[in-house]
C-alpha cells in the first residue's frame, strides 16, 4: 500500500494558495479548516458562529466553491486554493461585493458579513444576473441576526450590476 497515512497526532505540513499567495502551515488531521485559517494563517476575517454547520459565518471559497470552513478539515485543503474575505479586494480596490455591502447598509455588527460576501461571490460567479429569489436562496446557508436580509439582498444586487458592467473584475479569481 502506497498511501500515506497521517497518524492522529501528526502535524501535517500543508501547502496551499491563500488569496493568491503561497502559504505553508501545520495542522493535526482533526483541525477544522476555519481554525487553521484563523489561528495558523492568522486571517481572522473568517468567523465562527456556531458548531452545527448552520450559520455560514465561516464561509470561504475553496478550490472555486463556497464552503463552510467549519465543516472541512484543514488537511483536505492541502494543495488547494483558498479565497477568504481578505482576498476580495485587489490592490487596494474594494471588490464590488464589498462596495455593495457598504453602499447599501448590508451589515450592522459585521459578524456574518465575510461569510455572506463569500456566498455572494459564489452566486455571482455562477449566476451574474440573479433574481431576488435566487439571491435569497443563495444566502440561505448564511444566518444574519441584525439586518433582516433586505439590505443584504440590495447589496448583492448592486454588486451584480457592477460586476456585469465592469469586466476587469471577471478575470482572475481564487
Amino acid at each position: 500500500m502506497t498511501a500515506l497515512i497521517y497518524p492522529a497526532d501528526a502535524k501535517v505540513r500543508l501547502e496551499l494558495t491563500v488569496n493568491g499567495e503561497r502559504r505553508v502551515g501545520e495542522a493535526e488531521p482533526r483541525m477544522l479548516l476555519v481554525h487553521f485559517i484563523r489561528e495558523v494563517l492568522g486571517l481572522t476575517g473568517t468567523h465562527v458562529g456556531c458548531d452545527t454547520s448552520n450559520c455560514g459565518a465561516c464561509t470561504v471559497v475553496l478550490n472555486g466553491r463556497a464552503v463552510k470552513s467549519c465543516t472541512v478539515f484543514a488537511v483536505q485543503a492541502n494543495g488547494g486554493s483558498l479565497l477568504t474575505v481578505e482576498g476580495l479586494a485587489r490592490k487596494g480596490r474594494l471588490h464590488p461585493i464589498q462596495e455593495g455591502f457598504w453602499e447599501k447598509h448590508g451589515l450592522q455588527c459585521g459578524y456574518c458579513t465575510p461569510g455572506m460576501m463569500m456566498a455572494a461571490y459564489d452566486l455571482l460567479q455562477k449566476n451574474p444576473d440573479p433574481t431576488e429569489e435566487e439571491i435569497r436562496r443563495a444566502i440561505s446557508g448564511n444566518l444574519c441576526r441584525c439586518t433582516g436580509y433586505v439590505k443584504i439582498v440590495e447589496a448583492i444586487q448592486y454588486a451584480a450590476q457592477k460586476l456585469r458592467s465592469d469586466p476587469s473584475w471577471r478575470s482572475g479569481g481564487d
Binding site: R38, T46, N54, Q98, C109, C112, P114, R136, T147, V150
Partner: protein, 782 residues
C-alpha cells in the same frame, strides 16, 4: 458665501464609517484577539438540571497534555468569587461548590495551551452528581412543597410586583359591558447573536492591572462591579468592549466565563481566552421572555376601552439577573396600557426561580415592553373580534389623540409625543387595507384562510431619568466627551457601546450637525473604560435618547466657547456674531466669517485673553423623561389548510422614532427587529422536559430565520419629534421586536377566528395550526 463642505448631519442617509473594516474582514472581535502566551479556558458543564455535587476529580485533567490550570468552585470560594452579585440585586454562582441548578451550568474551568487541548481535558474531569428533584414549571415552583432551587432562599418566589390601581380597575371591570380575557404564554427564546460570548482576560502582575476584552454592552458598569467584587482598585481595571457581533441584551449579563478567565489569568500570569461554542452559549446564557400571563380588557359596548389588568408569573431561572432598573423588577411592563386612553389598569407579576439558566433579560425588549405590547395588542384584537368591530376601527377610536400629549397614563408614565392614528392610517393606506378586507371576505366564502393582523404599539425607551432609574444604584445617565484638535478634527468618546447600531456614524452625524464639521473629520470611540466617559451602555434603545443627547449638549457647550473665540477673531461683540452650521459671521456682514476650523486653531494659538486654551466639552446627560417611539404594523397571512403552514404575504411597518439621524440605519434596525419578531412568532423556542433537559440548545435545533423565509419587509415613517430631547429624536432599536409579534399572531388568529379560535401561543408551528384545524373540522388532507 463660499461653498460649505458636505457634512452629513442629521437626516443624512450616509453610508457607515465603521463598515470599512468589517467589509475587509478587519473587525476586532474578542476571538480575534491574540496575546503572547495566551491560553484557553473551557468548561465542564452539568448534564443535570438539579444535582448535588458529591465530588470532583480533576487529577486526570490536570495531567492532560497542555493543561495549565483547573479551577473549581472550591478554588473561588476563598476569593469570595464563587458567588457574585447580579444586576438585579440577587446573586449568582460563578462555579458551584454544593450543587448545580441548571443543565449546562459551568462546573469546572479547564485552562490549556490550545482550545483543542482544553476541550480534550474537559472530558477527563470526573464529577459525581446526585440528581435532585427538578422544578421546571414556574407556577409549580411557587406552590407549597416544590423543590427549592436556591439553598440560600426559603422559597422559589423571587418577587411580587404590582403597578396601577387595583380597586379602580376592578370597579371598571364590574361596570363594563364587555370583558375579554386570555391566558397567554410568551415563550422562552434566545437572542442568538451571531458571535457567542467570550473574553480575553489579562492580569499584569507587574503593573497590578486587570484588562479584559469582553463581549459586553456595558463596560463601565462591569468595571465598577468587578472592582467591588475582586477588590482590585477601579483605576487598575480596564474593560475593553471591542467590536461586538450582536448583543441584543444578551451581552449585558456578567457570565461565569469572564470571572473564571480573570481568576485564571491572575493564577497563571498569562492572558486567558474564553469563547463559548454555540452549544455552550445557547443553553447557558441569559434567555428572554418565558412569561405566563392572564390578560383581561374591559370595554363599553360602543367599543370604548376602559380598563386592563394582567396577572402573570415570570420564570427567572436559577438566578434573578435581569438588567432592569432597580425599582422595576419587571421592567417597564406597566407601559401595557399602550397607545390607548385607558381609564384604569392594574398588573401584578410574581417571579419564580426554576432549574433553568437566568431568564428574562432584555432581549431587544426595552425592559419587558415586548411582553406588555403583546398583552395589550392581543387583547385589543380579541376585543375587536368579540365586538364584531374592525380591529383598525377599534384602535382608531381609542388611540390617545395628538392634542393630549404630553400624556400621563394611568400607570404614571408621561408619554412625550405621539400620533398613533397618523401611523396606523399610513400603514393601512400603504397595504391597501380596505381592499384586503374585501379579499378576505371573498376568500372566506371559498374556504380559504387569510388573516390580517395589526399591532399599534407604544414603546418606552431611553432609560432613564435619575429620579426614577438606576441599576445597582448607578443612575442611568449617559455621556459624551468631545474634543476638537487644532486642525479642526474631532475625537468623541461615549459611555455607550454599539454592537451593530452604527454609533461611529450616527454620533458623528449629530456632532456634524451641531458643529458643522464633516463626519469624515470626526472619530467616534466607545467601549474602552480607560478612555471613555462613564456610561451605562447600549441596550433598551437608550443610546440616542441619552448619549445622543449628551453629544448634542456637549457640542453646544463647545459652540458657546467657540462663539467667544470667533467674536475675538472677528473683532466683534459676541452678541453680533451669528452661527450658521460650520461658521460664525458678523450680523449683517456675512462675508466676514470664521469657520469652526479657524476657531479650533485659534483655541490653541490665539485664544482671547484670560480664556483657557482648548476646545472640548464633556456632558453627562440626565434625560428628563423617557422617549416614546411608536408605530403601526400590519401583517397579511395565508394559512395552508393541509400543512398548517403560515405564509406571511405582506408586512407593512410604519415607525415613528422622532427626528431621524440616519434613515438607512433606522431601516436596518427595523428590518432586523421584524425578522426577530418573525422568528419569535413562528419558529423560535427554548423548551425543557420534566427532567430539565433543554431543547433548542444549538443552531441545528433552534431555528432562526434565513433569507428565504424572511418576508420582504415594507417600511415607512412618520416623524413626531420628542419635545424634550435636544435633537427631537427617540430610540428605535427595539421597536420592531417589540411591536411585531402581536401583528403576526393577530393575523393568524384573525384568519382562524371564524372557526372559533381566539388565541394560539407562539411559536405558531404548523403542527399547532394543523391541530386546531383538525379540532375545528377544517383540516384538508391534500
Amino acid at each position: 458665501m463660499t461653498e460649505m463642505p458636505v457634512i452629513h448631519g442629521m437626516g443624512s442617509a450616509v453610508k457607515r464609517k465603521e463598515d470599512v473594516r468589517f467589509i475587509q474582514g478587519r473587525g476586532t472581535y474578542v476571538d480575534d484577539i491574540s496575546l503572547p502566551g495566551m491560553v484557553y479556558l473551557d468548561f465542564v458543564r452539568s448534564p443535570y438540571a438539579h444535582a448535588r455535587i458529591r465530588s470532583i476529580n480533576t487529577e486526570k485533567a490536570k495531567g492532560a497534555p497542555g493543561v495549565v490550570a483547573v479551577i473549581t468552585g472550591k478554588d473561588l470560594q476563598p476569593l469570595g468569587l464563587d458567588w457574585i452579585p447580579t444586576l438585579s440585586g440577587d446573586k449568582m454562582m460563578v462555579l458551584p461548590t454544593e450543587k448545580v441548578v441548571f443543565q449546562m451550568q459551568e462546573v469546572v474551568g479547564v485552562v490549556a495551551e490550545s482550545r483543542y487541548a482544553a476541550a480534550d481535558a474537559v472530558k477527563l474531569v470526573e464529577v459525581d452528581y446526585e440528581p435532585l428533584p427538578v422544578v421546571i414549571d414556574p407556577k409549580k415552583a411557587l406552590e407549597e412543597g416544590s423543590p427549592i432551587v436556591r439553598e440560600d432562599k426559603r422559597t422559589n418566589h423571587v418577587f411580587h410586583w404590582e403597578a396601577g390601581d387595583r380597586e379602580a380597575t376592578d370597579r371598571l371591570f364590574e361596570q363594563a359591558d364587555v370583558v375579554v380575557g386570555q391566558d397567554m404564554y410568551y415563550q422562552r427564546i434566545h437572542v442568538s447573536y451571531m458571535e457567542p460570548c467570550g473574553c480575553v482576560a489579562y492580569y499584569d502582575s507587574v503593573k497590578g492591572t486587570l484588562t479584559i476584552w469582553m463581549t459586553t454592552q456595558a463596560p463601565h458598569v462591569v468595571r465598577t462591579v468587578a472592582s467591588l467584587i475582586t477588590k482590585i482598585p477601579e483605576n487598575k481595571i480596564r474593560i475593553i468592549s471591542p467590536d461586538i457581533g450582536g448583543g441584543f441584551g444578551g451581552k449585558v449579563y456578567v457570565y461565569p466565563g469572564y470571572i473564571v478567565a480573570a481568576v485564571a489569568s491572575i493564577a497563571t500570569g498569562r492572558p486567558v481566552k474564553w469563547v463559548n461554542d454555540r452549544s455552550d452559549d445557547h443553553p447557558s446564557t441569559a434567555f428572554a421572555r418565558d412569561f405566563h400571563m392572564r390578560a383581561e380588557l374591559a370595554a363599553r359596548k360602543d367599543g370604548t376601552l376602559l380598563a386592563f389588568r394582567v396577572k402573570a408569573v415570570s420564570d427567572h431561572g436559577a438566578f434573578f439577573g435581569d438588567a432592569n432598573p432597580s425599582k422595576f423588577p419587571f421592567g417597564l411592563f406597566s407601559i401595557c396600557t399602550g397607545s390607548y386612553d385607558l381609564k384604569a389598569a392594574f398588573v401584578e407579576v410574581d417571579g419564580a426561580y426554576t432549574n433553568k439558566p437566568q431568564g428574562g433579560i432584555a432581549y431587544r425588549c426595552s425592559f419587558r415592553v415586548t411582553e406588555a405590547v403583546y398583552a395589550i395588542e392581543r387583547l385589543v384584537d380579541i376585543m375587536a373580534h368579540k365586538l364584531g368591530v374592525d380591529p383598525a376601527e377599534l384602535r382608531l377610536k381609542n388611540f390617545i389623540p395628538p392634542e393630549r400629549f404630553p400624556y400621563r397614563s394611568v400607570m404614571g408614565w408621561v408619554y412625550d409625543s405621539g400620533n398613533y392614528a397618523g401611523a396606523l392610517k399610513k400603514a393601512m393606506e400603504k397595504i391597501g387595507y380596505e381592499e384586503l378586507r374585501r379579499e378576505q371576505e371573498e376568500k372566506r366564502k371559498r374556504g380559504e384562510l387569510m388573516g390580517i393582523g395589526i399591532s399599534s404599539f407604544t414603546e418606552i425607551v431611553g432609560a432613564g431619568p435619575s429620579h426614577t432609574f438606576d441599576i445597582l444604584g448607578i443612575k442611568m445617565f449617559d455621556s459624551a466627551e468631545i474634543r476638537i484638535h487644532p486642525t479642526g478634527k474631532v475625537i468623541a468618546r461615549f459611555g455607550t457601546r454599539s454592537q451593530g447600531q452604527g454609533h461611529e456614524t450616527t454620533y458623528a452625524q449629530i456632532i456634524a450637525e451641531e458643529l458643522g464639521i464633516p463626519i469624515e473629520d470626526i472619530t467616534v470611540e466607545e467601549g474602552d473604560t480607560d478612555t471613555a466617559p462613564y456610561g451605562l451602555g447600549t441596550y433598551a434603545s437608550r443610546s440616542t435618547p441619552t448619549a445622543g443627547a449628551a453629544a448634542a449638549v456637549a457640542s453646544r457647550k463647545i459652540r458657546e466657547k467657540a462663539k467667544k473665540i470667533a467674536a475675538h477673531l472677528l473683532e466683534a461683540r459676541e452678541e453680533d456674531v451669528v452661527w450658521e452650521r460650520g461658521r460664525f459671521y458678523v450680523k449683517g456682514a456675512p462675508a466676514k466669517y470664521k469657520t469652526i476650523q479657524d476657531v479650533a486653531f485659534a483655541a490653541y494659538t490665539n485664544p482671547p485673553p484670560g480664556m483657557e486654551a482648548g476646545l472640548e466639552a464633556v456632558h453627562y446627560y440626565d434625560p428628563p423623561n423617557m422617549t416614546f417611539p411608536f408605530g403601526s404594523y400590519i401583517c397579511v397571512v395565508d394559512v395552508d389548510r393541509g400543512t398548517g403552514e403560515v405564509k406571511v404575504r405582506r408586512f407593512v411597518a410604519v415607525d415613528d422614532c422622532g427626528n431621524i439621524i440616519n434613515p438607512l440605519i433606522v431601516d436596518g434596525q427595523i428590518h432586523g427587529g421584524l425578522t426577530m419578531g418573525f422568528g419569535t412568532a413562528f419558529m423560535e423556542e427554548i423548551s425543557y422536559d420534566q427532567d430539565g433537559n433543554v431543547y433548542g440548545a444549538n443552531f441545528m435545533d433552534y431555528t432562526i430565520p434565513t433569507a428565504v423565509e424572511t418576508p420582504k419587509w415594507e417600511t415607512d415613517k412618520t416623524v413626531t419629534p420628542s419635545p424634550h430631547h435636544p435633537l427631537g429624536a427617540k430610540g428605535v432599536g427595539e421597536s420592531a421586536t417589540v411591536g411585531s409579534p402581536a401583528a403576526f399572531v393577530n393575523a393568524v388568529v384573525d384568519a382562524l377566528w371564524p372557526l372559533g379560535v381566539t388565541h394560539i401561543d407562539m411559536p405558531l408551528y404548523p403542527w399547532k395550526i394543523r391541530r386546531l384545524l383538525e379540532e375545528k373540522g377544517y383540516a384538508l388532507d391534500k
